[in-house]
């Protein structure tokens, strides 16, 4: 008898604590939600402005995008293409892509393509490459990633699009060839994809205008998953 009394008392106390802890987290979440969303938009915009100069376009870049599914971008997951326009004329597009063959799994990157087919800039968004060797693809460690800027792809079999070891024009790192090789291949594929789909990308329905909030929380979940991995 006393046992069941103790059990029910304890479970009531536990439930009370669970409810109040959840309530506090829920409340803080509610209070910070708008601010966090705002901060993330700002962050996204500053990433995009790093690869497409802000003065070159005048549309709301973070709210003008299309979602695409293409194996050419390195994964079967949905990728986002942000479209930069100056007075409604297409200027450039920033395409998220995945290099599936990094040394330690996927490397996520974003590639800015000009409408003339040249590359305006590339940044690594997420990677798990070996610190000190492969992580030089990160701008924080080395400026290797800027060597893509201004390059363009002449044809599908453009042999310059490889690391120097394979006879191409991009340096590899001492002790790490696999990582830059994967990045070069991913950027090349993305450039090809853009060339083939350029017109349709700029005329598709905008996916970011209304559903942006949903989209951001999707992204957030994705990054969290990646972090846990």
């Amino acid at each position: 008898m006393s046992m069941s009394v103790a059990i029910s008392k304890n479970s009531k106390i536990l439930a009370l604590f669970a409810i109040s802890c959840t309530a506090i987290v829920g409340l803080v979440n509610e209070l910070t939600k708008d601010r966090i969303y705002h901060q993330q938009q700002k962050q996204l915009l500053s990433t995009l402005n790093n690869i497409i100069e802000a003065k070159r376009y005048n549309n709301e870049l973070t709210l003008d995008c299309v979602k695409v599914n293409s194996l050419a971008l390195g994964s079967d997951k949905q990728q986002t293409v942000y479209l930069a326009r100056l007075n409604s004329t297409p200027v450039a597009a920033a395409i998220t892509a995945v290099a599936p063959n990094g040394y330690n799994g996927n490397i996520e990157l974003i590639v800015a393509m000009n409408v003339d087919g040249s590359i305006n800039g590339v940044r690594i968004l997420n990677h798990q490459e070996t610190p000190g060797l492969g992580d030089k693809i990160d701008l924080a460690k080395s400026n290797w990633i800027t060597s893509f800027s201004g390059k363009s792809l002449m044809s599908q079999n453009d042999s310059r699009w490889a690391v120097a070891k394979d006879g191409g024009m991009f340096d590899q790192f001492t002790g790490a060839t696999i990582t830059p090789r994967a990045v070069v291949a991913a950027v090349k594929k993305t450039a090809l994809y853009f060339k083939e789909n350029q017109n349709s990308l700029f005329s598709q329905k905008n996916d970011c205008q209304l559903t942006n909030e949903v989209l951001m929380s999707d992204n957030e979940e994705k990054t969290r998953d990646d972090n846990e991995n």
Binding site: I13, T22, P131, G132, L133
Partner: protein, 235 residues
């Protein structure tokens, strides 16, 4: 003056005698994983410190109402709630800091040093002592993180404070010191095995210092060999 002695004992326990990193060996996962640079070590140290103080204070404040059979799940709830709140608030109000600490913050939940302190100290002591214990244990843990981070960063990349601007803002770019230049980095120090090795040396050094100290002191009473312990009574 009795209170003063109690607080002195808490400082001594937290920073040296019962240091969470070197003696209790709690929270090894984040400790070994993120100490490849001073900046990372500092970031995780500060976040842990904050959560430890908050959780110790709360656990101590509610200790009368918590039945001992369900105390562990309740402590876990409290700690998880604090970490989530810290994460949300940091994301909203210090977004830059959140970007660089993002991965470490959820790791704090898994840091057994925090639940260890809640269980061993905060649940049995008044709020003042408990929050002070949280502060001291947090500082003790951070100091170990910083030492480990310093040694690994100098050995591994030959720099100090690399990437400090991610944590402290752009002014911190000037803090970066190039101690010496490598042609290629000393990978072992940066990768997890290096963390284990450096940690081993740190513990050995602490034990050696302790041995020296006991040798210098005249024998007062018979020394009984103590095992590494999580609990202590500071009464």
């Amino acid at each position: 003056m009795k209170i003063n002695d109690e607080f002195k004992e808490i400082i001594w326990q937290g920073l040296w005698k019962n240091n969470p990193g070197l003696v209790q060996l709690l929270g090894l996962c984040p400790l070994l994983a993120v100490t490849s640079t001073i900046t990372n070590a500092l970031g995780l140290g500060l976040a842990t410190l904050l959560v430890l103080v908050c959780s110790n204070t709360t656990v101590s404040a509610v200790r009368q109402w918590v039945p001992k059979e369900v105390r562990i799940p309740i402590f876990v709830l409290i700690i998880a709630a604090f970490v989530s709140c810290v994460q949300l608030l940091m994301n909203a109000f210090a977004h830059g800091l959140y970007q660089s600490l993002g991965i470490f913050l959820p790791l704090i939940v898994t840091n057994c040093a925090i639940i260890g302190r809640a269980e061993a100290y905060a649940s049995k002591n008044p709020i003042k002592q408990a929050s002070f214990d949280g502060l001291m244990m947090g500082i003790g843990f951070s100091l170990v993180l910083l030492t480990l981070g310093t040694i690994r960063e100098v050995l591994g990349q030959g720099t100090l404070f690399d990437g400090a601007h991610l944590l402290l803002g752009d002014w911190a770019l000037v803090l970066r010191i190039e101690v010496f230049q490598f042609d290629s980095q000393f990978l072992l120090a940066i990768l997890p095995p290096g963390a284990f090795i450096v940690m081993g040396f740190l513990i050995a050094a602490k034990n050696a210092i302790d041995d020296k100290l006991t040798q210098q002191q005249p024998k007062t009473e018979q020394q009984n060999i103590e095992r590494v312990r999580v609990n202590f009574d500071a009464q």
